[in-house]
Symmetry: C2
Subunit: 622 residues, 2 copies
């Protein structure tokens, strides 16, 4: 088992083995910006799906809505370049709010991030699978299993740790950016496959179900803002860059903003020109690519690359959530489990939890990106708002040259993203945003409760306070026995080593219809007399079926009688050489250990004897 | 949790509380014969489904096939009355073959019984739900959940133990027998609702897919023999009867045979007269009842009673398999787990396994009785053959008056049921009987392997042989610590009580990018010096993420160095007052206990300190 596991996730690593090389701006695009860049695979589609409800005529609004979103993108890029200046140590929303806005705001930021990381994984994976099923419509019926398979692959990669693999992301990222920009350019200049037949069936309603009003426009805007998720990742990852870090990170942020903006505007122009509407089993991106270059090799290369980079985009979250969880665990807001690194130096528990939550979202949504979009972006924009508000406070406090200009910029960002968050909540509440409205306070409540509990336990146990001096006492050892054998001898020897008084105890179950045996009349007492080990044996007859009850009652009496002594219960157990034999042994050990598990008035010990039955054991029944 | 469980299954019982009163022949019908009697709900249907493949014309063969089966029933009843004579102590196929035919045959009988008990539960439950959905066709889509709910109910009843409830079976049994006989009588004399409309759609093929040949007749016979399952149960349960036991049991067997025979023939006559064929969502029994009395109150009363008695019929198996498993466990053919009685004096593990296997069959078959029928009856008839063959050997050995007549009767039974078994195997192999052909030898192989293993272990451990005299040795105690607190003090005190040398050990994990700490420079070592508990502390720095690895390496060294001493690893753990807090603590305890679980060169002990954080713990973050 362990060998198989190591084959999947790799051998254990020393911490000094994980210090990878540092990255350049172009590498930064692949390591930190895939989440943002790949959102072109679902952002424009999200706008079109909303507008399509008002009929084909409303599709001429795709470009204006996109331009507003790209304007917001520009504002965010400028703001985040300032975050990089202010927090070159990595300015995640949790850290920035904690430093500037206090614990309450930082916990809200943390909760929003947890929700958002989970949604990023689910949306990226489902959009990646949608790119694949658009290219190969025969796979549509396997959408959910494909989503779970991609998720499993990404999870396994992350349990290995990404040290060796991050560099491998560069090629698909460049193919994706280059390929998509080239296809957009071809489409704008002269499409190679004008009006090629599209698979699937148009989902445009024959009669508009909504009118084009301000509410519809706001809904299209909210959905489209899913394209802006991930622009904060570079600011979080500044320490990964090669020196001069800040300059390189800022350059990467600008590069990301330009590429993303160009792609979004280009796709909007093409979608509008070709009247692209929602289609069954075909993403908008697939339709645009098909119209531009036909469903030939270039289409398939970019489609498959899109699937790959979307899967890799899920890595942004797998890199982020486990680290955030470990920070929260260090601050006593999550179980300390999340602070433990695994064999591969990754925070394995955080990875498992993230994979589990994303799997639930994928199954519940049926792997449909558009039904996840209403939940998405709220968490991200809450984080945007909090970290930019935190920056305003930061500038006011530190007052560097021209601080008021910087503060004004971040304040504008905070106000605009705050308004956007409210718009998301209002327009998409009924379609799923309520889940986020419930989840974020629930997480905050959980964090606060866990913190209070750890605080109380540390007080109660006196952790890190100097306790009294320890001192030894008389020790009484109870050995529950079921038979006489070498194991019994071993257990009594260990018991005699540990304690001044040793008692063996055995339970005789009286089956329905049997007589209660007289003292000294059971077969085990006969054998005990023959053996004479120098330790008294008490046989406890019981009419109840459980052996635990009489043993526990016996221990209770002993603890009461020996108030000045430590009582140890030493349970003998067989250690079979094969795991599959473990169901054949040690039932008493199991039930008794469980019954005594939380008893603090006795020490529970376990002595095991290995057993390897002779290989040539006669298979002949006795 | 425990309280809730006791509410479901009842309080623990003493063995003397389970001695219920003994039963009369009429009560015997409800306690031991429901499996046999209720098979009228699926037996005639099984014949009709097979014959229908040859078109409507073949349905005139229902009566002849039924008469052959009733003839076999008469032979079985006569044979089993002899079994009652020979084994008044309860002559299950396992016991009879064990006494007369040796271990091999008895294991085959046991394996066949295990398969058969499981199938009886699955078939009874699915047929009971079919009776319900025939009466209320709206429930058809919930067939599988209904099956699982009925199974859960029966399982819970059996985990309680049936002591108090067996008598409650009498009423539904009498309503079922009386009601069905009355409906058959009405139908034969003058149906009240001639040609009432039947729900569902006829499943008779418009073109025959098979010709009426010998093979089809044999198939119909095999399927119909599912109506004979359960006639052996009375012979197994002779000890339950009131004195004179043998006479009362034989009278019950005769009563069962007569009622079952009359019902089968009556149903066959009616089915043939009314040209009853298979229908979607309507059992044959439901159609016959509907034709006879219309879908009025009498129909609904008998239909619901049928569901209830079929659920109760599953009890025959729940009474049988766990007892058989406990006998096999006592003889070392199954894990000893199956020999443990639960709090309610029932063999709970056997009940759980039976419920699990039946649930799998119900889910895989989609709750469809007719797809389980081909697997059914093979196990029962194998048991019939073996126990009757055993009886022949028994009569030859004991030679009572007229033994040759008795031997001839049982030999005839053995030959006829043996031929029937072969017919089942041949005609239904491809439709599912192969599962049984694989399962029976697989179970036998499992029994033999388990027996050989237990035998080998008893040899290796010297069980029930007088071992050497135990003697104490020097004891060294290792206490892994993670912090300094009252718990640490408690653990060191216990360690000092137990051993002559005590060592504390702590692991310092070096995170990526950190320096390996110098000896004596960690915070815990500072605190330790302040405390000065008289026990040396060793801090083990590690670049690996696991704390287990360095502790285990340290223990290995200590065991090698202290070859003449016993080594105890004493793990301190927090015992939280609420279960929900357990994920917040004791990760070191968990991983270290697991790592040392099967080490026989150290004793692993656990000391716990209760912790109840102050109720008014400030929820304010520190």
């Amino acid at each position: 088992m362990a060998a198989l596991w190591h084959l999947v996730v790799g051998r254990p690593l020393r911490s000094s083995e994980t210090e990878g090389e540092q990255i350049t701006p172009v590498e930064g695009l692949s390591a930190l910006s895939l989440d943002a860049l790949t959102s072109v695979a679902y952002g424009p589609e999200a706008i079109i799906v909303v507008l399509a409800a008002a009929g084909a005529g409303a599709l001429h609004l795709v470009l204006p809505v996109t331009l507003v979103i790209v304007g917001l993108l520009a504002l965010l890029v400028i703001s985040y370049r300032q975050v990089i200046d202010a927090y070159p140590g990595g300015g995640g929303a949790y850290a920035v709010s904690r430093a500037n806005l206090g614990h309450g705001a930082s916990l809200v930021a943390a909760a929003a991030l947890v929700v958002d990381y989970t949604l990023t994984v689910a949306v990226s994976v489902s959009a990646g699978v949608a790119a694949l099923t658009s290219a190969f419509p025969a796979l549509v019926s396997a959408t959910v299993p494909l989503c779970l398979a991609v998720l499993a692959l990404v999870t396994a990669l992350n349990l290995r740790g990404l040290g060796e693999t991050a560099r491998a992301f560069l090629l698909p990222t460049l193919v994706f950016i280059g390929g998509l920009l080239a296809i957009i350019a071809v489409g704008l200049v002269h499409p190679l496959a004008l009006h090629a037949a599209q698979p699937g069936r148009s989902l445009l309603p024959s009669h508009a179900t909504e009118v084009v009003g301000i509410l519809l426009l706001l809904k299209a805007f909210s959905s489209g803002c899913s394209a802006l998720t991930g622009v904060e990742a570079i600011a979080n990852g500044v320490p990964l860059f090669r020196e001069p870090r800040v300059a390189r990170a800022k350059r990467t942020e600008a590069l990301l903003g330009s590429i993303l903006g160009v792609m979004l505007v280009g796709l909007a122009v093409l979608a509008q020109r070709w009247h692209i509407g929602p289609r069954s089993n075909q993403t908008v991106l697939s339709q645009i690519m098909g119209e531009a270059v036909g469903r030939h090799w270039a289409y398939y290369v970019v489609s498959l690359t899109t699937t790959v980079v979307l899967a890799l985009a899920a890595n942004t979250s797998f890199g982020g959530l486990p680290v955030l969880a470990s920070l929260l665990a260090r601050d006593d807001y999550l179980p300390h489990l999340f602070g433990l690194r695994g064999d591969r130096q990754v925070f394995a528990n955080g990875i498992w939890v993230l994979a589990g939550l994303a799997a639930i979202l994928l199954v519940v949504s049926g792997g449909n990106t558009n039904s996840l979009i209403p939940l998405f972006a709220i968490g991200v924009f809450t984080g945007f708002t909090l970290s930019q508000t935190g920056l305003v406070v930061h500038w006011r406090r530190t007052r560097p040259p021209r601080w008021w200009l910087r503060a004004t910029l971040n304040a504008t960002g905070a106000v605009v993203t705050g308004i956007a968050t409210v718009i998301f909540l209002v327009t998409k509440f009924a379609e799923g945003a309520w889940v986020v409205v419930l989840a974020v306070p629930a997480f905050v409540w959980l964090f606060v409760r866990i913190h209070a509990y750890y605080h109380g336990v540390a007080e109660a146990l006196g952790i890190d306070q100097v306790p009294e001096r320890p001192h030894g006492r008389r020790t009484v050892v109870v050995v529950p026995v079921t038979h006489v054998s070498r194991l019994t001898e071993r257990a009594l020897s260990e018991a005699l080593s540990m304690g001044q008084r040793v008692e063996a105890v055995s339970v005789a179950i009286v089956a329905p219809g049997e007589q209660v045996p007289a003292v000294g009349s059971t077969p085990i007492e006969d054998l005990w007399r023959q053996w004479d080990p120098g330790v008294p044996l008490t046989v406890l007859p019981t009419e109840y079926a459980s052996v635990v009850r009489p043993v526990v009652a016996y221990i209770d009496e002993l603890v009461a009688a020996e108030a000045d002594a430590d009582v140890v219960v030493l349970i003998p157990a067989v250690a079979p050489s094969h795991l599959r034999h473990s169901t054949l042994h040690n039932h008493i050990d199991f039930v008794l250990s469980n019954a005594l598990r939380n008893r603090s008035d006795v020490v529970v010990a376990r002595v095991t004897e290995p057993v390897e039955p002779p290989r040539e054991a006669s298979p002949e029944p006795r």
